[in-house]
Amino acid sequence: MSTPAAVVWQKNPDLAWREIDDETVIISPHDSVMHELNDTGSFLWKNIDGKKSAAELAELLVENYQVAPDIALSDAQALLDEMSSRKLVVTVSATGGVSL
């Protein structure tokens, strides 16, 4: 699933999660499945705040990880899509609507 740049992302508020030593563990409460993000994924996760788009998140990756912009965007979008498919993040449209 790809989303237009205008769409911003936020964490699914139902989740339990904790960053422990640069890695993040997330638990889906309804099925108790555990998910794990590496340090880069954790960096993105921390910055998913309901205000930033994939492109804006990719810009933060470029600033902090010395990575080419196209690779950063590709990586950020891939991770967001994967997290969206697992219902870990939701999109918020420009009009404020939330979709899982």
Partner: protein, 400 residues
């Protein structure tokens, strides 16, 4: 650079446990909010008088500190947690800090409205004590007439509001034969259960509850029960996830098994701890040696610097003076807290664990299993064979 996301309960949990044990991060915290209770269970290890519980503000500060320290799994228990009027405020704060929240309760005070509130607040699991499917047996243990009926009435309500429910059944003299009924009840309700053979002394060390402990010989039918063995998952199986069913185990443990705990007595003080309603921090509720008090110190200062915890972290099972030499160690569920409370030595062996290990080994086909503790005692006792008696006599005569 690749941002990665992985999933799957067992590998993620194993890695998480390994990391937190290695770095001593407080992954799992058991927080008793009150010792007050509306039941008077015969085997209970708590003093139910309020000795000055943490205030709401103090509880919220504790939660902030725990979140900052990296705690993820949080179990609220008691006493009976619904007797705290600020329970929902505390749960809301815990949810806003993204804890994975479980509750332990007798469920007497659960109503549809309260269950709905728990669901809204993101509580994942509720563990409920059920001692029997027979009201007379259950109610005689809780000393509250009608308690089983009220407890069981709460379960469908909680399930209806999306909460996971787990039954916990401590086994003692009064309900030893009731476990099959509890198993059947759990199956009928479609919920997991845990049977617990552990009856502990009171936290002040007094032994009153031990009068209700079933003897090892009376536990044999339970240990032999093929149904329990059949549903006991292997530690490395794919089912080892936070809510995995572990039919025989400790009700106060996380229930999580992992190779990361190899050579450690348990998780206590390594990546888990217990907090009392008065702010005392213990390695575990079954190891009541306070490492500090949250009214006087920050959690991190206690967790990372308390000498009691540092000493506990240095213990390795392979270095225990008696148990390390035990040939049936793999059948033993030695608890360091019980070793301290019952045997007087955190590092020592204690009778109950040794006797249970011998029975489990015997059931597994080991011929004449004997624990290291009993071997040491046997060796120290007066020999009884004629040859040995003759040898003693000869020694006595030589010494004259």
């Amino acid at each position: 650079m690749t941002a990665s996301l992985s999933a799957g309960a067992t590998p993620v949990m194993d890695r998480l446990i390994s990391r937190t044990v290695e770095k001593h991060r407080p992954l799992s915290v058991h927080f008793d909010l009150t010792y007050r209770c509306n039941e008077r269970c015969v085997h209970c290890y708590l003093d139910h008088d309020d000795q000055g519980e943490l205030t709401t503000a103090e509880c919220l500060q504790v939660l902030d500190d725990l979140a900052s320290s990296g705690a993820l799994f949080l179990t609220f228990s008691g006493g009976e947690i619904f007797l705290r009027p600020d329970l929902y405020e505390i749960l809301a704060a815990a949810r806003s800090l993204h804890f994975d929240i479980s509750l332990k309760t007798n469920a007497l005070l659960v109503t549809p409205e309260r269950a709905a509130r728990l669901g809204e607040l993101g509580v994942r699991r509720v563990q409920i004590s059920v001692y029997s499917d027979i009201p007379a047996v259950h109610d005689a243990i809780t000393k509250v007439p009608g308690s089983l009926r009220r407890t069981l009435a709460a379960i469908p309500i909680l399930l209806q509001h999306g909460l996971q429910v787990k039954l916990a059944c401590p086994l003692m003299r009064e309900n030893l034969l009731a476990y099959r009924g509890v198993m059947a009840l759990a199956e009928k309700l479609g919920v997991p259960y845990i049977l617990d053979l552990t009856i502990t002394p009171m936290m002040d060390g007094s032994s009153g509850p031990l009068a209700h402990r079933a003897s090892v010989s009376s536990l044999l039918p339970v240990l032999r029960d093929a149904r329990l063995q059949a549903c006991k998952p292997q530690p490395t199986s794919a089912t080892a996830r936070p809510e995995s069913v572990w039919p025989l185990g400790s009700a106060v443990s996380s229930g999580i098994e992992s190779p990361a705990y190899q050579d450690l007595p348990c998780s206590a003080g390594h990546n888990s701890c217990y907090i009392s309603p008065y702010g005392d921090v213990f390695p575990c509720v079954q190891l009541p040696q306070a490492a500090g008090n949250l009214r006087r110190e920050k959690f991190d200062d206690i967790w990372y610097h308390a000498p009691q915890l540092e000493r506990l972290r240095a213990i390795r099972e392979s270095q225990l003076p008696i148990c390390s030499r035990c040939e049936i160690r793999s059948y033993c569920e030695r608890c360091p807290g019980l070793a301290l409370m019952e045997g007087g030595n955190l590092l020592g062996a204690y009778e109950r664990a040794c006797a249970l290990a011998e029975e489990k080994a015997r059931l597994a086909g080991v011929i004449a299993p004997i624990s290291a503790l009993h071997r040491v005692r046997d060796a120290a006792s007066v020999p009884t064979t004629p040859e040995a008696e003759f040898g003693l006599l000869a020694a006595d005569s030589n010494s004259v």
